[in-house]
Subunit: 207 residues, 4 copies
Amino acid sequence: MSVLNFLVSETMKIIAQHVLKVADKVSEDKNVTEFIEKLLSYKNNGKKIFVHGAGRSGLVGRSFAMRLMHLGYHVYVVGETITPRVEEGDMFIAISGSGRTLNVVNAAKVAKEEAKAYVVAITSNPGSPLAEIADLVIVIPGRTKEQALVGDYYIRQITGRHYTRTPLGTLFETSTLVFLDGVIAALMEKLGLTEEHLAKRHANIEG
Amino acid sequence: MSVLNFLVSETMKIIAQHVLKVADKVSEDKNVTEFIEKLLSYKNNGKKIFVHGAGRSGLVGRSFAMRLMHLGYHVYVVGETITPRVEEGDMFIAISGSGRTLNVVNAAKVAKEEAKAYVVAITSNPGSPLAEIADLVIVIPGRTKEQALVGDYYIRQITGRHYTRTPLGTLFETSTLVFLDGVIAALMEKLGLTEEHLAKRHANIEG
Amino acid sequence: MSVLNFLVSETMKIIAQHVLKVADKVSEDKNVTEFIEKLLSYKNNGKKIFVHGAGRSGLVGRSFAMRLMHLGYHVYVVGETITPRVEEGDMFIAISGSGRTLNVVNAAKVAKEEAKAYVVAITSNPGSPLAEIADLVIVIPGRTKEQALVGDYYIRQITGRHYTRTPLGTLFETSTLVFLDGVIAALMEKLGLTEEHLAKRHANIEG
Amino acid sequence: MSVLNFLVSETMKIIAQHVLKVADKVSEDKNVTEFIEKLLSYKNNGKKIFVHGAGRSGLVGRSFAMRLMHLGYHVYVVGETITPRVEEGDMFIAISGSGRTLNVVNAAKVAKEEAKAYVVAITSNPGSPLAEIADLVIVIPGRTKEQALVGDYYIRQITGRHYTRTPLGTLFETSTLVFLDGVIAALMEKLGLTEEHLAKRHANIEG
């Protein structure tokens, strides 16, 4: 095996192990239960769901939004062309690992205070400005101190530089993507929707 | 634990286990070695890299493209505003689980035959039209027959309906995202780039 | 006045004069009447409208789609995250000056033949593959031979190079944008919708 | 002529007449001269140009960014995947009719104060927060009081409702698009670039 293959494989395992830990954590999280129950109540309640995130968190949000559309929700991605006004009673899902991304925090504030939406924060940081604004906070751990000590992220003593296999928001982003795919599976089960239902709504022209 | 939490957690574990299997597979794949060596040769060779995919595969491609930008590559996403012409010797990375997505296959053809680019296909399907066009094929397994039998995807006998926790391209998309984050880790190591280097190029204004 | 200001001002006048000519042309075009009547019939008929175009034509399409959303239409832009399947009876508006843009022509074919949508082509080229597919063709003139002779586009004799103030699709794109804003004004009048109605649907969070 | 055709044609003429007035105005504006001279100095100076706007102003910005790319500039659209960090000496072009769009104003602040970029505001409102931040302000008139009185925008006495053929930012957006196409024509002339040069950089794969 080439060292290049080893590096890829090792990194993939670090990420998968992190996802497994997050899977255990969310299995006991009452806010996760509440999030899914809330989403179930939005099926056919005439309200809209908005998803917002910056950078790679925004891409994770879009992946989730596409599946919600497949399930028949009225869902919109902030910043896309045909995204309408957020109104009272709509759900606004904001994704930010740090909970400090300026635009996302500002947007959540407008959603909460002006539009009177129900705001869900998905973040690693329960003490962040985003979490404070939100009606419901889902904590998805990103890189932790423990991981910094046991291997995938450590400080090289001589140079003082930080080395990591999973730079910046990687662990948060991947775990959030997989978590939200778990939410989709739960919604499918509860709504009695199968893969065929999803496929029927999937775009036949993808641009 | 609520059944809702169980469904989320179970699905996350199915996905993580799949990623672990893919991690083993790619550790022995010579095409993966070649892909990374090729990418290393594109650092400062004056050529461009293009990433293309439809739907959620496109979002995975964007996540990868953002990291390549963080590493200092001249990388573009097909369909974005300032994406220029594909020219001879550029690299064109096409992502499609089925290898049959019309626009992606057509684009890969133009990239290969007209533009004379080096085309990399990332797909579950080594016998697909996309794989045939490509100079290099990376196979990332999606849903397999085995998984259909052992649980996460099975046919309910009575209704004849397909039930799955990981509908449509979910397993391919997530595995490809994590695989490409593994490729980024390998590039960082070989190029001597740390998280600090990446952070320095990361957008400070995210729109 | 600086020559730079002169060049800007002169070019703006060339474009505005072209728009005025197109305004005269569309005032006599029965297909324009039919297009607006068709759009009126899509208000609250339970059908969706899709807009598709590549490059700057795609941006013009998005500008139109945003206004249709403001008017309360179920409108989608091909390639965005939450764009669903095109289905029988939906309207598919394809914008291409040349009428030959590969992806747009392919998409229109799928919309027409597989999805059984009502396809509208907006193009400079009534003899193009796109126009042939369409149920209704709106011709918006772009650069003409006449303009080539009288000034804004001429062949410099010595070099043989083409000089123009309005390169590539500029005249088509701008005229189409203004034409579609004219269509919006007609829809507002007929639907009894004022600026206040539009403002009420306009996004309050723009990402 | 159908009333529908009349409404379209009349609206197109209102917009074209507005563009002609703006063409006169910019012909005497020294800030326009400075803007183009600045842009000329950014050709091959190793600096980046960023374009930012929300909604339809953002689409106008993208149209301009695409042409700058065609001219060989290192230009980026805020919010797209591969947009890097704004750094000292980069140019940041912010487009907002009102000059009050929250995200755009915040972004311009970061560009100016943190990144030390050269900020250009394109706005109808020279007294706006955006204009105050900017190093250079280009004023593009949108709807004016005069227009409100003479016809295209008037208050219907009985209902008190505002009627207009050019709702919300329509006049500003269209005029800005045409103005920026004028800037492109001036840059082409001064840089000695013809349509052929632009076509050579235009995307051959448009997603």
